[in-house]
């Protein structure tokens, strides 16, 4: 590898006004490693406006000044294609928000990645080209003339190995000394007729047009890869120029542009790659021979998914008690102790320590299984296996009418539906993405498992495993049927053709894994945590007050409270699935479960108790340091149980021991007794079916709203969920009790089928109305 010695040193980067530096490159080019190297822990993760694609920005302090580093999602081309994240990267580049681009390219794949480089050079934004992973390329015998590359492109070129921390100094030196040329010459020129057209369009790109006046934008508008966004003048001018180009060259305008572009890419390749190197069988080849094998590929995939399950649930369980007890000590007992020490009023102690602290204690233990799920998924993605798994399962998913990439969100959904909906962003095409997003609320998340456990402890001690497993399967079946139905009605069409880059296998560093996992977990905690905290406080307030003729008054009787009265009012609607009027607390659980499934058991604990104490526990008597020490001691105890849990990650074996399952669920003994009194086993299953399928929690609804950008689809997810849940739960209960009231059962079952058929007919009608529009959208996407 020849070093590049022609770095400009005329003026400092700040003198040129450079503040925002965007990192851009193909997926798997090592971009995030460069981002971590530059920004260290000074990173913030948010969302790009309107979508749930992560926006990673960081600060770089160098020579006493600060730069904003933006890590853009990986993108193959500015010319279109790909999922939402690629669109985000393209829009960002076109917006001109970056003062400088660092184009990271995998040196082993320059032939392909120069395509994006040339497109970036055409934007007119200054570019630094980072030839990353030069060590891997050199192992293949590849030799690149970075000096020559720099002279042809007019941009600094830096051979780089992002995994070596010492390389940061080299990059900082280039950044600090970078000088943006006052006037950039185009990297290459098109035939005259095209150049004339680009000039004409660039004249129309005034500040009012909303477009940046650069060659890339003009070229994109000309070839139609950038929509004119309602500007009839630009649109008609582009059309005229296209006709002129076709008349002059005898070829389509977009082909002429693409061919010239490719010719320049080829010129770069020919001029700068001195030795292309030889393909020597790598570890990736050997691993691929096994994991992509037509007989072994699918079983290996399922084994890895099973391991993900085991690691997430069993690994999470090791820390579950620790987090639970530690968070009780820190967020409930400690604030309670402080408040009672200063003689704060009882209701403040109740609200801040017992309720608000209790809600934090409710959320934090979920960190363990969900954090492990994220860690394992990050490992699979960063190592390169997830792309293989997607390929292996593509055929199976396609037979179900689903895109191959639908599998990843479904697996994530077992942990939590919120990141599952967010994971649909990796799916190309609006139709496919919508289909998969609509499936996610039916995947049985870990919060629902807690509810299953409480019922299993009471009703299914010997068959709990089968019941819970059956519910998981039912969720998958309903999710797939929902997608099939949508695919045949409102979202008619075929899944997009499968095309996937298979990156080489790489062992991610522990630091990169930790950072990526933490970013995901932080979003989960913020999104889900604040909803649960708010919901718990609201539920507490609704359960503490009653509306009386004299006005609003406090009450300690759950049945008299606003929440209790609300539950009692809607309970008759649930009679067909086996919930009678005396079992109104179960309905209250469903009401609060619509906000967050995590709070259902807590609600049942309160609602089934005859009276609720308004007084807080005596926190002054709690030995907080001892509670913290005891929480730490649970880790080794639970770790010892880990070895036995590989065959039973969900703990089905423990269901026979009712106390264990009950303890897992957090249900009080009074609640378990009430469940035994108010439910029959048949009604219990009907209730669990309803809990599995009805309204997605508020956080999932929010994710669907953001991901689909549509309230209509969010409402659809809610309505369809309720229809399916009510229909299946009622059908189950009525068929089970048909001997007792045959006529009524038949009426209910027929009504359910009628409602389902009517819903499908409505969906078909919508499909016939919107089909053409959707096809147009899919073409553009």
């Amino acid at each position: 590898m020849k070093p590049n010695r022609t770095m400009p040193t005329r003026k400092k980067v700040y003198a040129d006004g450079v503040r925002t530096v965007a990192l851009i490159g193909n997926p798997n080019c090592g971009k995030t490693t460069v981002f971590n190297l530059l920004t260290g822990t000074h990173q913030t993760v948010g969302n790009w406006a309107g979508v749930t694609v992560e926006q990673k920005t960081g600060k770089l302090l160098t020579e006493g000044r600060e730069m904003i580093i933006v890590d853009l999602p990986g993108v193959y081309s500015l010319r279109g294609g790909g999922a939402v994240d690629e669109t985000i990267a393209r829009d960002y580049i076109r917006s001109g928000a970056a003062d400088l681009l660092i184009n990271i390219v995998d040196t082993s794949n320059l032939e392909r990645q120069f395509g994006l480089t040339v497109e970036l050079l055409e934007t007119g934004v200054p570019v630094i080209i980072l030839l990353n992973m030069t060590d891997e390329a050199e192992r293949h015998g590849r030799e690149v003339d970075s000096d020559h590359l720099s002279s042809i492109t007019g941009s600094p070129v830096l051979p780089f190995v992002a995994t070596r921390t010492g390389e940061k100094i080299k990059l900082l030196e280039v950044l600090n000394n970078f000088v943006a040329p006052l006037q950039r010459t185009p990297p290459f020129t098109y035939p005259e007729v095209v150049e004339d057209g680009i000039s004409k369009i660039m004249h129309l790109l005034t500040p009012d047009s909303g477009f940046r006046p650069d060659r890339a934008t003009a070229g994109g508008l000309l070839e139609g890869t950038i929509p004119a966004c309602g500007s009839t003048e630009i649109d008609s001018t582009a059309r005229d120029i296209r006709r002129a180009i076709e008349a002059a060259t005898g070829e389509r305008a977009d082909d002429v542009i693409a061919n010239e572009h490719f010719r320049f890419v080829q010129k770069l390749v020919d001029a700068t790659i001195l030795k292309s190197g030889s393909i020597i069988p790598t570890l990736s080849d050997k691993i691929d021979r096994v994991v992509l094998n037509r007989f072994l590929g699918v079983p290996i995939f399922f084994i890895i998914m099973y391991l993900l399950f085991v690691v997430s649930f069993s690994g999470g369980n090791v820390f579950l008690d620790f987090i639970d007890r530690m968070s009780h000590a820190l967020f409930v007992a400690l604030p309670g102790w402080i408040l009672q020490s200063i003689h704060a009023p009882s209701w403040i102690v109740q609200l801040l320590a017992t309720v608000a602290g209790g809600s934090i204690q409710l959320v934090l233990p979920f960190i363990a299984p969900i954090g492990f799920t994220f860690l394992f998924l990050t490992l699979l993605e960063e190592s390169g296996y997830m792309a293989r798994g997607t390929y292996v399962m593509e055929h199976f998913m396609r037979r179900l009418g689903l895109p191959g990439k639908a599998l990843v969100p479904m697996v994530v959904g077992f942990g939590c539906n919120v990141p599952a909906v967010m994971a649909t962003r990796g799916i190309e095409g609006s139709r496919d993405r919508l289909l998969v997003a609509m499936m996610q609320p039916f995947m049985s998340c870990s919060a629902r498992l807690v509810i299953y456990m409480a019922f299993a402890a009471v009703f299914f001690r010997n068959s709990g495993g089968q019941v819970v497993f059956g519910l998981y399967v039912l969720g998958i079946v309903v999710a797939v049927l929902t997608a099939l139905l949508l695919g045949k009605t409102v979202l008619r069409g075929e899944p997009r053709p499968f095309l996937l880059d298979l990156p080489p296998y790489r062992l991610p560093t522990a630091r990169a894994l930790a950072i990526a996992t933490w970013h995901r977990l932080r979003i989960y905690l913020w999104r889900v945590g604040r909803v649960i905290a708010t919901a718990t406080v609201c539920i507490y307030v609704l359960a503490s007050f009653a509306i009386t003729p004299a006005g609003i008054a406090g009450t300690n009787s759950p049945g008299q409270s606003v929440l209790g009265k609300l539950g009692q009012a809607i309970t008759p609607a649930f009679a067909p699935m086996g919930i009678d009027q005396s079992n109104w607390p179960a309905t209250v659980g469903l009401l609060t479960g619509a906000v967050a499934k995590e709070v259902v058991i807590g609600t049942l604990n309160g609602a089934y108790s005859r009276s609720r104490s308004q007084a807080s526990p005596d926190y002054l008597r709690v030995d907080i340091p001892r509670e913290m020490l005891e929480s730490v001691a649970t880790i080794p105890v639970n770790a010892r149980a880990l070895a036995t849990s590989f065959a039973d990650p969900l703990g089905f074996g423990n269901l026979a021991e009712g106390n264990s399952a009950a303890a897992y669920s957090g249900a009080k003994q009074a609640t378990l007794r009430a469940l035994a009194t108010h439910f029959t086993p048949l009604a219990a299953i009907a209730y669990l079916i309803f809990v599995l399928l009805y309204i997605p929690c508020v956080s999932t609804m929010g994710a669907i709203r953001r991901e689909t950008g549509s309230w209509r689809w969010t409402v659809y997810a809610i309505v369809w969920g309720v229809v399916v849940a009510y229909g299946l739960a009622t059908t189950w209960y009525q068929l089970g009790t048909i001997a007792r009231h045959p006529a009524a059962s038949v009426v209910w079952v027929l009504t359910t089928i009628g409602v389902l058929v009517a819903t499908i007919q409505i969906m078909k009608w919508f499909g016939s109305r919107t089909g053409e529009v959707r096809r147009d959208t899919a073409e553009r996407g």
Partner: protein, 95 residues
């Protein structure tokens, strides 16, 4: 549809769909029979006319994994079927 204009006996007319090639064979792409959007996408992933690739793996359903340069790409059956290729003579890959 993109059909190369210069159809010579040694190029498009001699070509066949990628799934008809046996694993391990090196081929050259002589035609891509798909719509413009997909063709652009393929180009951005390094698959275009005259691209040389090696078929690493194929399945009965028509999916394929190909090596282009040092990279690998997985193709669904529709795309594999859309690629018209001609086999290249075997050679030792050193350059």
């Amino acid at each position: 549809m993109l059909v190369p204009e210069n159809q010579t006996p040694n190029s498009f007319s001699d070509s066949m769909a990628l799934p008809l090639i046996s694993e391990g064979t090196r081929v050259r792409v002589v035609g891509i029979l798909c719509d413009l959007a997909l063709r652009r996408r393929l180009t951005s992933l390094g698959v275009r006319q005259d691209t040389e690739m090696q078929l690493l793996q194929q399945s009965r359903s028509g999916r394929a994994v190909v090596r282009i340069g040092f990279g690998r790409i997985a193709l669904g059956p529709e795309i594999a079927q859309a690629l018209r290729v001609v086999p290249l003579p075997e050679r030792v890959e050193t350059e």
